[in-house]
């Protein structure tokens, strides 16, 4: 076990005057000397919950890169055939492929974690009960499925 450092220090810190106290007399000198722990820079690695949160946040960065890539593609398309072909060839670059695969994974992570969180934001009261979290989440998956189907058939119809 550890032992006390034994250093006896005179109390520091100023006297607290009556924020909470109605008096007019000067406050006696405080013996408070609170220790203020600081938050570590790596706090987001501390436990599973924080790590999951960090992953959710990071996932949006990767998705952001992916969207940026698409925007570049659009700009190239607009510029003409030559630059479009340059962009298409860029897509086969291993780095870009990795990014795309990662983006798929991360957007799934992002979507599922957000869906999981939606019952906290959307609360539907029916009588004296709330609609179970499961149904709120399920609704989101249902919406996603419908949306995906629409996009799919729209593309398929092209």
């Amino acid at each position: 076990m550890s032992t006390s450092t034994g250093a006896r220090q005179e109390p520091t810190g100023a006297g607290r005057t009556g924020a909470r106290s109605p008096g007019r007399m000067p406050a006696a000198e405080t013996h408070r000397r609170p220790y203020r722990p600081t938050t570590k820079r790596t706090w987001f690695l501390a436990n599973r919950e924080y790590r999951a949160y960090a992953l959710r946040e990071v996932s949006s960065v990767v998705v952001g890169f992916f969207v940026f890539n698409l925007v570049v593609g659009l700009v190239c398309l607009h510029r003409g055939l030559e630059s479009w072909q340059w962009w298409v060839s860029l897509q086969t670059n291993p780095l870009n492929l990795t990014l795309t695969v990662l983006a798929v994974v991360m957007s799934l992570v992002h979507a599922t974690t957000w869906f999981q969180a939606t019952p906290k934001i959307i609360r539907i009261q029916r009588g004296t009960r709330y609609v179970a979290d499961f149904w709120v989440v399920a609704q989101h998956y249902l919406l996603l499925a419908v949306f995906a189907a629409v996009v799919y058939f729209w593309l398929g119809g092209l």
Binding site: S2, T5, Y53, A117
Partner: protein, 292 residues
């Protein structure tokens, strides 16, 4: 904030090396069979090492961990173990407690890094140990396991946690009617015991010093959602503020650790939603700001 003779765990204690049993010699109740580290059977028990954070402002510049060897039985709570240390080994060990039934909110500690109520956590779940007991994270430490609650008390006052009536809604005599449905709208948010576990769990409380924090925001939402209250407008500027609800990045840890199922994360997200709505309403129909 005191100790008492209640809840002594039973068996023979041995002070950790170097710990002076101060006062009378450590009490040695009748010996019981020891089963170190046994899972929580009906008759589990043994001894465990507590590693308790010590910080005495008149003596030390920084906290350190002190070990105590403590006997326990099935029903020994972590709080019982601490009071046993205070009564038998180290009277100067300081921690808050009162009700020992998880309702007064005094006894929040970090147990092996997780915020928990000491009176509602049991040694059997940490056997064979060691069990590290520290003051709640994200708080200034006044002494040993006692943290500074004044910032929270200021947040509490700031959110106007009381029924606000207005001229358009006179209070009916003798009282209001409120259906069970209307009660459910705020019921969960009225269960908060101000135990500060959610503050200890929230990284944003540690990073953004002026964040109102989960419990205070929850209380604002509790009144906003009460059919008897008409103060949402008055609370809006406190919530919709840099130090109000916006530091929340929706980590969600507050709701995970809450011992009363209050779900402060939900309350905060709903406050964000309501604030955004009020903001949009103001944008579309300026100065109609009726809030609710």
């Amino acid at each position: 904030m005191t100790e008492s003779s209640h809840g002594h765990p039973g068996a023979g204690a041995s002070a950790a090396d170097g710990v002076q049993p101060v006062g009378a010699t450590a009490e040695q109740p009748e010996p019981r069979p020891r089963r170190d580290g046994a899972a929580a059977g009906p008759e589990a028990g043994g001894t465990i090492t507590l590693q308790v954070l010590r910080y005495r402002p008149d003596r030390e510049d920084a906290p350190y961990l002190q070990d105590f060897e403590v006997p326990w039985r099935t029903e020994t709570s972590v709080l019982d173990a601490l009071t046993w240390v205070k009564d038998n080994l180290e009277p100067s060990l300081t921690f808050r407690w009162s009700c020992r039934m998880a309702i007064c909110g005094s006894c929040g500690f970090m147990l092996n890094g997780e915020p928990k109520l000491g009176c509602e956590s049991f040694v059997r779940d940490y056997a064979p140990g060691p069990l590290r007991i520290e003051p709640l994270a994200n708080h200034a430490v006044e002494r040993d396991l006692v943290v500074d609650l004044e910032p929270f008390m200021a947040s509490l006052r700031a959110v106007q946690p009381y029924v606000i009536s207005d001229d358009r809604h006179p209070v009916p005599e003798p009282g209001n009617r409120q259906t069970p449905e209307q009660m459910v709208a705020y019921g969960q948010y009225s269960q908060c015991i101000n135990c500060m576990l959610c503050y200890a769990a929230c990284p944003q409380v540690g990073l953004a010093t002026d964040f109102l924090g989960p419990a205070a925001v929850t209380l604002a939402v509790r009144y906003n959602k009460d059919s008897r209250d008409h103060g949402a407008d008055s609370r809006l500027p406190i919530l919709d503020n840099e130090g109000g609800i916006w530091p929340c990045t929706f980590v969600g840890a507050c709701s995970t650790v809450c011992p009363k199922g209050v779900d402060p994360a939900a309350a905060i997200q709903q406050a964000k939603g309501a604030t955004a709505q009020a903001w949009a309403a103001e944008f579309i129909l300026p100065h109609r700001g009726e809030g609710r």
